[in-house]
Structures are given as structure tokens and as C-alpha cells.
Symmetry: C2
Subunit: 188 residues, 2 copies
Amino acid sequence: MTEAHERKKQPEIVRRALLDCAAQISQEQGLPAVTLQAVADAAHVTKGGLLHHFPNKQALVQAVFHDLLEQLDAQIDDLLEKDPDRHGRFTRAYIRAFANAESEGASNWNALPLSSLTDPEMKAMWSEWYASRLARHSETDAGPELGIARYAADGLWLAGLLEYSGVEAAGQDALIEQLISITRKKQT
Amino acid sequence: MTEAHERKKQPEIVRRALLDCAAQISQEQGLPAVTLQAVADAAHVTKGGLLHHFPNKQALVQAVFHDLLEQLDAQIDDLLEKDPDRHGRFTRAYIRAFANAESEGASNWNALPLSSLTDPEMKAMWSEWYASRLARHSETDAGPELGIARYAADGLWLAGLLEYSGVEAAGQDALIEQLISITRKKQT
DNA sequence: CGAAACAAACCGACCATCTGGTATGTTTAT
DNA sequence: ATAAACATACCAGATGGTCGGTTTGTTTCG
């Protein structure tokens, strides 16, 4: 990833590189391809160096996941601020965040979360995040239509991973806007 | 899985057992855990025996996926028949099929599709299936609301895999019915 | 100030285990 | 008898992980 080469002992940079590289590999070639060797090579570090930062593979993968979760969290907070309407704020931010994750180049947020659904600890991490987030926005995002809209966003994101090569970008944007509009209806 | 033990040379049964066991392992421990040895052991066959049925691992996994696709296809056809309304038939069947996949015990249809999203061939298999199915039902299931409903079903299914242990079954059923109701609106 | 002391960052070699896969034998059904 | 349905033995490579050592940075102290 970033050229940690020639740099002299910058642990945080190396750690970041390892995280990013692992995420990228996972995204491009799937979780099974995320091997210690591959990640180390990609980050221009030896396997020993990698294992200094992360005690084992599980720790590495979980760290990547945690990192991605933080990014998502930050992005949602950002979108949340810019939204003037109260009702359904979080849901809109959620939809947009996942839509971005799909389209933008900065889409680390891809294959990893899927493959890692098998790992109970990562399952728990996501569940916790989602639950706490829902609790925090219970006043503005409790309606069932909003829940559906969020589920649809998940499905849309999933479809993006599958590259339904037929429809693609054109229809996607329209669908997203339609989801957003659902969010604004029924201001009880 | 099924006790192929003590049975004398029943290739089809063994093949089924292999398929089922592979699906189960993938579902419980993730795709990386689906090793030739593990599958063979679970089906009470040796690795050699397995490789007699499937020339290599990829063939095995793809066969599992193909099998699951067929099951889904059959289930949808079944649901399709029972539905008197024309408009949105396929979407309703799709929703119900995925809802069942989640709740029923016969839920082989789980982690595999996810993990296998990395495999281009399986991606293609799903894309093809979905596209052809959409084409077949273009007259009854073309509306954007229906697309959203289907996406939401996907998201709901995904959420099921994650076991949002908080909400669960009670809310799920209500949500599904709500999705179905979306399907019936706007009979243009 | 400067050098010794210490710890963190990183490397390189090594290892037990497991992986997918082959090659060859043995049993069973037709 | 012949071919399919299995089992057994084996292999080369990769994998996750350990361990001892070397380099670099930081602190301590005279």
C-alpha cells in the first residue's frame, strides 16, 4: 500500500499499511487469500514484523474489521451532521454510507464483512455497533419503514458486490434516491 | 450428515451427503473450513472417495452452490404457483423463500453464498439466475418498489445471518408481511 | 553533553501441521 | 470381466506460528 519502504521505524505507519493491505487483499481476492505472508509482502514487511503488530491472524483480521467499522461510524456521523431533517436521519446516513462504500474508490468496505460473518466475534462486533447505533437514534429512526429502507440498503450493497452487470450505476442512483424518499414520508 | 455408513455402494446417496455436509460446514464454520478432509470425514468417506465424485475442490463448492440455487429455484416456483395475484408474484415468492431460508431448519442456504461471492464463477451463476428470473417475470415484477422490496428481503436475510440477537423472530415476521404488502400496492 | 541501559520494532530461519491433489490399490455391482 | 465406487498411501507446497537475534529509538544517569 503506502510505501513504508525506506522509512525508519514508524510503527503506526506500518500498522496502517498492514491494515490497509489486508483489507485490499480481502476485497480483491477474498478472505482465504488473506494470508500472513501475502499481507506482509504487500506491506513490505516480513511475516515476523507483521506478527509483532498482531499476535496472530485472527487478531489481524479482527483489527481490520474494527477499523472498517470505525470508518463507517465516522462517515455516518459526518452525514448525520449535514442532514437538517430530524426524522430518519440515521437511516439516510446509513443508506448513503453504504451507497458510497459501493461506488467510491475508497471502498475497502467490501468482501471482508461478508466472509467474516462466520467469525462469532466479528458478528458480535457488528451486532453491537448496529444495536447501539439504533438505540442512539431511537427517537428519529424507529419506524418500520425506516427499518425496511435500511435493509434495502444492505441488499443494494450486497447486489453491488455481486455486480449485476446488467443494471448498474444508472438504476442504482435512482433506487437510492427512492430509498431516501421513503425515509422522509410519514412524519408522524 | 445422513448416515451413509453401512450402506453398500450408493453413489447418489454419497454424493448428496457430500453436498449436504459441505453446505453445513460452510454454514457453521465458514468457507475456509470447507476442506476436502473435513467434508470427507463428515460424510464418512475418505478424501479419495470425495475426489472421485468431484474432480477438485472448486467443483465441489460450485456443485454445492448450484445445488442450493436449484433448491431456491424450486421453492420459488412452488410459491409462485400458490399465489393468485399476478402483480408482484415473483417478488413475493422471492421474499418468502429468503424468509424461509432463514427461519427453517432446512437452512443450508446460508453462509456459502456469501463467502463464495469472491469466486467469479459463482458470482456469475447467481447473476445469471437472477437476471433470467427477472426477465421471465418482467411483466409482473418490473416496478421499482418491487426491486426495493427484493433488496430489503436480501438485507433481512443478511441480518438473519448476523443474528441481531435483540429483535429476532417477532419483529421479523411483521417486517416480512410489511414487505409483502408493499408488493401489492400500486396496481398500475 | 554523551554513553550506557533498556525496550520497542523488525528480520530470517525454522517447524509442525494441514492443504489440495495424484497414483495405485481394493471392493462391489452389473 | 469390466467398470464404477471407493480406500490407502503418499507428496510437494503452503500456512500459521515460534524463536533467537539485530537494528533502531528512547530513557537514564554521570
